[in-house]
Structures are given as C-alpha cells and as structure tokens.
C-alpha cells in the first residue's frame, strides 16, 4: 500500500489519529490510551498485516516524551511509523509485547533509559543498567553523567 492508501485505511480504523509530515514513511500519531487496541488491529488487519516491529524507541523532547514504533509488513512490504506522546513526569503506555514479542526487550530498554512504564509488561526489570539505577534515566536530555570522559 502506498502512504496515501495507508492514510485512508488507518483513519478508517481509528478516526482520532493524526498524521505528521517528515521521513519517508507515514507518521501516525495516536493517543497512548488507544495504542494497544490500535496495535492489535494493525497486526491482524488483512490489508495491513504489520507483523514486524523492527524498531521501538523513545525520543525526549524536553517537554514530553514520544514513543516511536517502526512497523513493517513482511508480506505486503509497506511500513508505517506510529508515535505516541507521553507525559514527561509520569510516562505510561500499554505494552505491546504480546503482539510483537520483540517489544519485550526493546520496552525494557526504553524503560530503563527513559523511565517509561509499560503497563502489563511481563517482566519489566532493568536489562542493561546495573541494579540501583532505577529512577535515573540516562537517555533523557537532562541527565548529567558525573564522569564524562569526552569533556576531559
């Protein structure tokens, strides 16, 4: 499907989505509360079949956080980028780890790096950082590392 067709289709699925310009793929912005249901539809819908979550990350915009999901269909070869704006002080979003299993690890990474809480995640623990890092989120823009080699 081309981006235009996707736009029509996605609006059909969820009327509240908005679209963002930029990038080669279609950027869809959804409300965090609607995300889980929308994700399930994205995967199961016959015309969409986004079965491959190839990138899951978060961007800290200083005022808010944005979850970014890159989805591709291995059968239909089209891709879409789904974004969800989160509150910076209490970021929470539903997990999609049972829809796309790869999200389990990626969400754990985002959890420790950005402090986003994934609701109903099966095993939300620190994956990369050592114990005792809870609460400090290194990838946020305001995080200062006391030992910074580069600044000498």
């Amino acid at each position: 499907m081309t981006n235009e067709e996707l736009k029509v289709k996605l609006t059909e699925l969820l009327p509240s989505v908005t679209f963002e310009e930029g990038g080669e793929w279609l950027n869809v912005v959804v409300e965090p509360a609607e995300w889980l249901a929308f994700a399930k539809q994205l995967k199961s819908d016959e015309a969409l079949q986004f079965d491959f979550l190839f990138c899951l990350t978060c961007v800290d915009w200083k005022t808010h956080l944005t979850m970014v999901y890159h989805l591709r269909s291995t059968k239909l070869q089209h891709a879409v980028v789904v974004k969800a704006k989160l509150d910076r002080t209490k970021p929470e979003i539903e997990t999609v780890s049972d829809t796309w299993r790869t999200a389990e690890f990626h969400e754990r990474e985002v959890y420790e790096m950005f402090g986003v809480h994934f609701l109903h995640h099966p095993d939300l623990r620190l994956l990369i950082l050592p114990a005792g890092w809870e609460g400090k989120n290194p990838m946020r823009k305001d995080f200062e590392d006391p030992v910074n080699m580069i600044k000498l």
Partner: protein, 159 residues
Amino acid sequence: MFIKDYIKDIASALKSLATGMKMTGYYFTHHKEIITEQYPDNRDTLVLAERFKGEVVMPHDDNNEHACTGCTSCELACPNGSIKIITKFDVDAETGKRKKAIDTWIYHLDLCTMCGLCVEACPTNAIKMAPTFEHSVFDRNKLVKKLNEDGSKVRAGVE
C-alpha cells in the same frame, strides 16, 4: 530394513569422521602450510601497510620546522577530545603585528581511536598517521605526548 539402515548409518558416520581426520592428518604432516608469524623475532622484516593508522605524528624537517599553524581544526574534528592545542600570540618582528601561533600540540594517545579525522581536517597537512603499533607503556601518563618539538617553528610559506 532396520539392520540395513543401522549398518548404513554407521558406515556413513565412520566415513565422515575419516574425512575430517584425513584433512587434519594432511596438515599434521605438511608443515609448509603453517602460517603463523613469530612476532618479536620478525620485527626487522615486518612490513606494515603505509596507510596503517598507528598514532598521530607531526613530521618535522631538517630545520626543525613543521607545517602546523595552530588553527585547531584537528581539535574540533576529533570525536573524543584526544587533541588539545595551546596557542600563544607571536609578535611579528618586522610588522609588529600580533599573530596567533601554536605553542603546544598535546596528543592523548590513550584516548585516540585512530579514526584519522584530524588528518583529514588539517588544511596544511601538518600531521599524519604513522604506522607504529608498539604503544604499550607502564605509565599511562607517557601516552600523553607533545607533538611539536622544542624550539620548532612553522615552516615558511605555510599559512
């Protein structure tokens, strides 16, 4: 035929094992195939590629002159801050103008990742990568080097 398959299995298994042993046996008896180098012994004959990025050096000519003007573009290009250039102001004897010049070119070999961006960035080709690799020392401070030699100055004609 259970028994037939059984024997066939054993025969093919033994054959596959024998093939492997034949190959290792070949190498056991053919010492000409040995490819290892005896490193400290072959130091004299060891040839490194001329592009090998071992460390940053600043070539000086016979008059103890180099081509570095102290423009700090290498310092800016370095991704991890392993170059530090301290500049001073030279007073030109003839015109009396104050001119920015290089004082010390400090190179942190311990931080360098040998990416070669500083050499790329240098407008006067004052620095280059040298094909050396035996950098190990007991004292980490020895890896912080001053590249411009004492009393050296900028080669005439380099701006």
